[in-house]
Symmetry: C3
């Protein structure tokens, strides 16, 4: 797997401006919408049980995040994921803090049955999701991405999906081949919901080109790694990082990955 | 209709600091509150069915936005809008993505019966609201403001309200006379919920001076056009646009519209 | 009471990275999470009735804010506060706009019975909470902190808790001794939910060292006063204030309070 196609994915996304339906947590909604707009996608945040199935069918992809989950949202997510499965719309699962409570574990077990195209989490979440006992601690990862590589491959093979693990080194795997991505910046864990925004970006890239979800997922991770690196060079702290990061996402061009 | 009174509206708003009750979507809450504070208004976000009627009566105006609507919020919005109607408090309707789903169309039909003082939307939303079939696509507009001028005039006349249409060119109409506003910046559609914030700003201006809702609405649009232009000159992308835009709103003075 | 221990509290917080469970309003969630991360704490926003008690037991502290309260959230807050009381986890109450509606007054009366370790509000809210009739006006304070000093002391003594009053001059009291803090910046009331973020910061400091809640509370207020002052010097308005404030929180070191 090479990074040659990543630039093509960004070209695609700019051409398609994929309508990306996000059912995400309250903390991440604004920042995820701004991340999608900066990248060139078209975000839509809506979650009413009366309309999610109808809207999923208009969308290029669905991104689901359980960060601030409650019963009505879990119900809508299940309706939306079922509609996505029925219509062949790719959907992304972000299992925030799945290891932290029994409620999250039960919900994620139900969601895995609805066949996400991609699962995006930190190492701790991927380990939990793979059934390995791992005490959760909010949305922060307590193990390295490498530790989660085996779990990610197992999960990807069992589910027949892509698994993306965020960390100092990112890992994207389809269970057979894996891609490691380096980059980003030490300030990124000090800014809230960047991981949630990455899951939304994965949905946008996969929605823009559903034919190759593994390289589409890698393109989203690559955009974050590059924009994060650039923003980190500009920033004096996590406050100035955020606008610099959105600017950097906006300024990314497909040429960044063109071999010279 | 001239822009001479616009500066007077800003003077009024600065003097009155109108308490502006917003029942808006989760994505827009923080940015709308910051927009109102930067302008000099006093925002309040609350939506519990037990208290909205009581709070509407304390408020200068109510702003309603259906972006992330669900049944409990729709219920509270109806209570609040009814209380506003009963107490003569002006209220603004932002019919986000009304064309996208049947659920939104039904809800907006019910809300129109409660007589908003102003409707603020993009061209696509105003067309949908006027009953013209127009396939919605999230919160993004797919037709120009000019295309929606006829619809806006019809809607304003039927409803006896002001209609404001956001776009490259903004249109504000009472159904008989229309005002076109130029300005803003190409980055504005790349920042989420600026339109929602504009609806909140319209409520604040109309609340500060309910005697002339058409020029009050134009004043809000004018502030956004000017601040957007200034912020766009400062910004390197949508990330740096946002703080620059809030700063520019904060720095606006009534003199901006004073003839020299 | 001297400010000597404040630097020690920041050292503690940096060492412990206290997991701070926030059940807060929609407007404040993102900014409170970023404030906690900038300070060096670990935020977690979750509110489902099925999991809050379980999560409180994992957390160093709980922060409760009623800004956008509704019945399901009030229910979860009561479960979480009861779990905190049972497990000896300190919890902070931010009674946003308690004077504005009967619904908020009733809810706060119930929450006071669950024994918060700290109450953080503006002068108007502290006066209302102490039973002094004071017409509320959204989240904005309409009386000075000094006016609320007597109310704060009475409330602290009655409740056996710490009360922190935000304003131009901050007051922190245990009902017997009081500390006044100066600093901050005139732009701070023009940025939404800084007060809510301060309540979350108080929870983080008290969670990092529950043995001295009064100086821990003062440390949180002190960080805000200092970071606010620094950010105000950098900012051109409320938009640029926010990233500068987060950067300043991030750059604070325990040395700031070391006598030279």
């Amino acid at each position: 797997m090479t990074i040659a196609p990543l630039g093509q994915h960004l070209t695609h996304l700019h051409q398609v401006t994929p309508l990306t339906h996000c059912i995400t947590n309250y903390v991440a909604m604004n920042s995820s919408a701004n991340i999608l707009l900066a990248l060139g996608a078209s975000p839509a945040m809506l979650h009413a049980e009366q309309e999610v199935a109808e809207f999923v069918r208009l969308s290029a992809a669905l991104s689901v995040n359980i960060g601030t989950i409650s019963a009505p949202w879990a119900h809508s997510i299940q309706i939306a994921a079922r509609a996505a499965q029925a219509s062949g719309t790719p959907w992304v699962l972000d299992p925030v803090a799945v290891g932290a409570t029994a409620y999250r574990q039960q919900l994620c077990a139900e969601l895995l049955a609805l066949k996400p195209a991609v699962i995006r989490g930190n190492a701790s979440e991927i380990l939990s999701l793979n059934g390995i006992a791992n005490p959760g601690r909010g949305a922060d990862s307590t193990v390295s991405s490498e530790d989660a590589h085996t779990a990610a491959r197992q999960l990807a093979r069992q589910q027949g999906c892509i698994v993306g693990v965020s960390g100092e080194t990112d890992i994207i795997t389809d269970g057979h081949q894996s891609l490691r991505l380096y980059g980003g910046h030490a300030l990124m864990p000090r800014v809230t919901t960047l991981g949630c925004g990455l899951s939304a970006a994965v949905a946008a890239f996969v929605g823009a080109d559903p034919t190759s979800p593994v390289t589409a997922t890698a393109a989203a991770f690559g955009c974050f790694a590059l924009a994060g690196e650039r923003a980190g060079q500009m920033a004096s702290g996590p406050g100035s990082f955020t606008p610099a990061f959105l600017d950097a996402l906006y300024q990314l061009t497909p040429r960044i990955w063109t071999p010279v």
